[in-house]
Symmetry: D2
Subunit: 343 residues, 4 copies
């Protein structure tokens, strides 16, 4: 069976594996204070054109989200997010477990707007007794979103502006950041995104690493004591070197973006095949996740050769199916899928 | 200024005050283990025809909700509620502060349906990876709702059935229970409601007491160690006698229901006046809270004599206004309001 | 049976009851924003000579402690306290439920020292990896302590100094503040204590009120959004007027201190009787709580007429017994106890 | 500089690295439901002679502790642990962040006794108002302890018995389990230990893996919904295969124990050298962590060639120093250290 159900089916990029092998018996201090972590931090600061940023490495996305949010919010504050946002749906209430409400705004294709955020802020600042409601204390968005869609530079700037005008930090979940930044539909650069956010992360797990997310803290007020939060949240890897080594490899010779571009190229081939066959797109995603509406019979047929990810049922006869490519997707597997689509 | 903005503007019913005065210098042990609490518990068990129920007294509604929910749910579980439910909106994230997500269902006039609950349960029990989402562990409804509306007996039975079939406790917030049970539109009794719920409370604060909510635990599995939760949540009143004395008075000679009926009678007069004048009801409430859509000029005029509670703006020229009566509402104040409405 | 087991056996002082009766049918807005609360706040600011202080009213001590601590600490911080402190032992883990470790220092007669606090701070600031331990973020002491003992002015000043030098707020639990300030052993005034603390509270529950603790926030940085924390913690009383009325009465004509002095006077009589009979004091308490070591036979004899509070067993034949007086203790009951002691 | 300061200085054992390389491009489903995880689970069940055990893989120790404890305790319960236990000191309050008090018992060389546990249980079950204190809900011990010491089989059996008699689960932190089980001083086997615990874990991070702890749940009542807790706690690795692969390698051909034995052998050589030179042992550890009291001058001298871990200061002239060996310790480095000790 060929797997297209997610973008974390394989191990890691060869360059990462090579560096892990090469450095395996080096002795290093623990907890992210080794030379590889330090080098990776420098490379990330350069790539983000953010020489003053604090960079911390965490193991996974839910952990990164919960740790960042826990470090930013006070107990009576909540985080504004899309109703389809990862923190709102797929983290088993990790944010609430940390004590905070997710203030979910109705998403459109995974996205929310500056205008929605503004309305939410106003609704929570009513003159008479605002303290009966949670106080919005952060805006969380994903780039790309959980549906593979992208905010335009203008949309991001508007969201950043309303956040900053309200003195509420903007946090961008970049679990698939590379797939977004290398999309044909992307109109901004990593440094530009980096400067619109107060804190964001560069996802490694879904983009060629064994695991790892690099949290970049831009706003000085958010930097204090962050390592305490990592440790408290169970995210401080004893052998922190492993995270440093992986991001060192990813940030060298543009590897991170080369891997991401490959996934987008593979997705483009699949998208083209679906379009040619007249299948309807459920979400107009320009990145490595595709969502198509398939007649159930077609799905059943595809599932004889491929592991896929059903995403919902628009009606009794159809299923929305997610197809993911990744840095590791083999062209021959894509061809096999295209053949099956064309049938 | 005459106040109609809420149902907790005055102190307490004279019968309660009298008993407080009479017992003031009695010596009692603390924390709800005194004779008055014990007597009140017995009276409540009788009124609910629930001889095996555990009865605990808490000071307020948010406290009661947070304590009950904390005692029932495990950390990975959330509570299903109406999107307009008190725990979803107006408790400053107390439930999330306790670690739990409120799974909010789109409410209609403050109510949710058994069918919505069923859909929510199904959506969270998907075969593939249910552990990525919060597990529904409780259903919370209010009777009457925050909009003064009532579930019919049949609706309640359906909700109770789906909850029990799914082994998920049903929790009924009865902050205004008496106003509901004495409404002309009510088709069930206290014992009937008591047996449909796994845990519920009889609200005192808004119904004639200085403060106090009587939590009634029906399901044996929910009784264990509940006093620990009260204490941990800061709800264990040192002079617990005060709660016992108040509920002893409320449960004697049908006082609780007499007080509630008065509020409903007063509301009926106001409702009639609005109807006669052709004002549009925002919510069809048969209890002591009325929601009418007023032209802003009318509101401005009323606010010269009355303190009211604006509830939202359907358009730029109109305001939804809440009018509350209570056990303490004076007929002459109602007449003054009616005159002003008729103008 | 005459009760000496605690200082919350009766209702409230007559002056409070009178004011409650008199104001019962006044209409007031809820949640502590009424005129009585405002007046009580002014009286408290005057009594503390702290015109800039924020004053908030909460229902009980555990609630006040949990709310204040939740509002001050960040998630990775803990609160330094005596090992016998109320928050360390007798609040069912309310502080931990809010996410914070209580950093317990070995108490001596209920007290801790500035030097212990300093050592604790140093131990948690070790150069190598402080983030593996909780960060001390607050100092909590009780005045008087849970054992009735008092810090001298000099001791308090030292604790205050080390706290402020370390930029860690000092929080004084004053559940029995009046009993402390009117003790013969007290060498400081309310305004002096008020200016040594960053936040403290004036206890009402154990000092003549039905319930209530007045939290006084001195440090400007701790004032922001405190009402959110009260609401989230379930401590925002709907009929907030009740708290205002009680503290208005307590702060008028020196009532608070007159009630407290009575308790200390009654305690002095009991202390004298024990001393004359040669009983050994377990703790040298100069306030309203006395701790004596009684042969078990004597205890058994006393318990035929009195409800007392056994506090521990130094050996198989003896019991430490707590005797509490209060604002409500009747001289004839004290005489009865003294007679029984003298036997 | 040669590093002896901890047992996680290097990457991983060659056998693990080989298997990671070999399987790198295999496609697997995520989140620990792949074939390698399943195989590793089977091997662990066999090694523990516990065919019914549930086995889950987590990334690190703090995460494993917090997740297990969160899944077992109810909100009003605390966990009994040694005052020097990892959860009591070195996890930045992760357990309290999850809402639970650590009930710390005075440790002796890192250990607590069944008798201490019993006394603690009795103290918390006092007839009068146990709900004012946290309810003990779990016993946590480490094997070996944080000081390298071991419980004897008899001691463990007593602790297990008192736990089970009190219906309180026993949780054994086995972050260094192999170093304990292969110590010359160990008098029990893995299956024996496995059957004394209700839940425990087999540490990988410090014993040859890149990272990973295998949680083994023995008691049926603790198995339900555990995957929810892993996900909520941020511990559900997307590429769960990595954990499966590592434990598959460790559990094959006795690798886990061979690696551990090597560390103990290296430690024995160092211990012998210290003893011969007459240095005083601070803690009598029979495993891979050694604690010696060094004159500060000797320490300074050693630190010119070695990175060590100072552990405390018995007096101004001496330092307690921890020396760790591991699966990766090179004999030539041990010889260099011994030479330096002998000087």
């Amino acid at each position: 069976m060929i797997q297209f159900q997610c973008d974390y089916n394989e191990g890691c990029a060869q360059e990462i594996l090579d560096l892990l092998i090469k450095t395996n018996m080096e002795q290093h201090v623990g907890y992210g204070e080794d030379a590889h972590c330090e080098k990776a931090r420098q490379l990330i600061r350069q790539a983000c054109e953010s020489p003053e940023a604090d960079v911390h490495f965490l193991v996974g996305g839910t952990q990164a989200n919960a740790t960042v949010i826990s470090s930013v919010l006070r107990p009576h504050q909540g985080v504004i997010a899309a109703s389809t946002g990862h923190i709102a749906v797929h983290e088993t209430g990790a944010i609430e477990h940390g004590g905070h409400k997710v203030l979910a705004l109705q998403a459109c294709n995974g996205k929310i707007t500056a205008s929605q955020i503004k309305d939410c802020l106003i609704a929570h600042q009513q003159e008479d007794g605002p303290e009966h409601m949670v106080q919005p204390g952060m805006v969380y968005i994903s780039y790309p979103t959980e549906y593979g869609t992208l905010y335009s530079r203008e949309e991001l700037e508007e969201i950043s502006r309303i956040s900053h005008d309200s003195q509420i930090p903007l946090f961008i979940d970049g679990a698939r950041l590379g797939y977004g930044l290398t999309s044909h539909a992307c109109d901004l650069t990593l440094p530009q995104l980096a400067h619109l956010a107060d804190v964001f992360y560069i996802g490694g797990t879904k983009q060629g690493a064994l695991f790892g997310e690099a949290v970049v803290i831009q706003q000085p007020g958010l930097k204090k004591d962050f390592r305490y939060f990592i440790k408290q949240g169970g995210g401080m890897l004893a052998k922190g070197r492993l995270l440093g080594i992986q991001f060192e490899a990813l940030m060298t010779n543009n590897l991170y973006f080369r891997l991401a571009r490959h996934a987008n190229d593979m997705a483009a081939l699949i998208r083209e095949a679906f379009q040619q066959q007249g299948f309807e797109e459920a979400v107009p995603s320009p990145t490595n996740q595709l969502f198509y509406i398939l007649p159930n019979d077609d799905l059943k047929r595809l599932e004889q050769k491929f592991i896929l990810s059903p995403w919902g049922h628009p009606d009794a006869e159809h299923t929305i199916v997610r197809f993911c490519t990744s840095w590791a997707t083999k062209p021959e597997n894509v061809q096999a899928l295209i053949s099956a689509i064309k049938h």
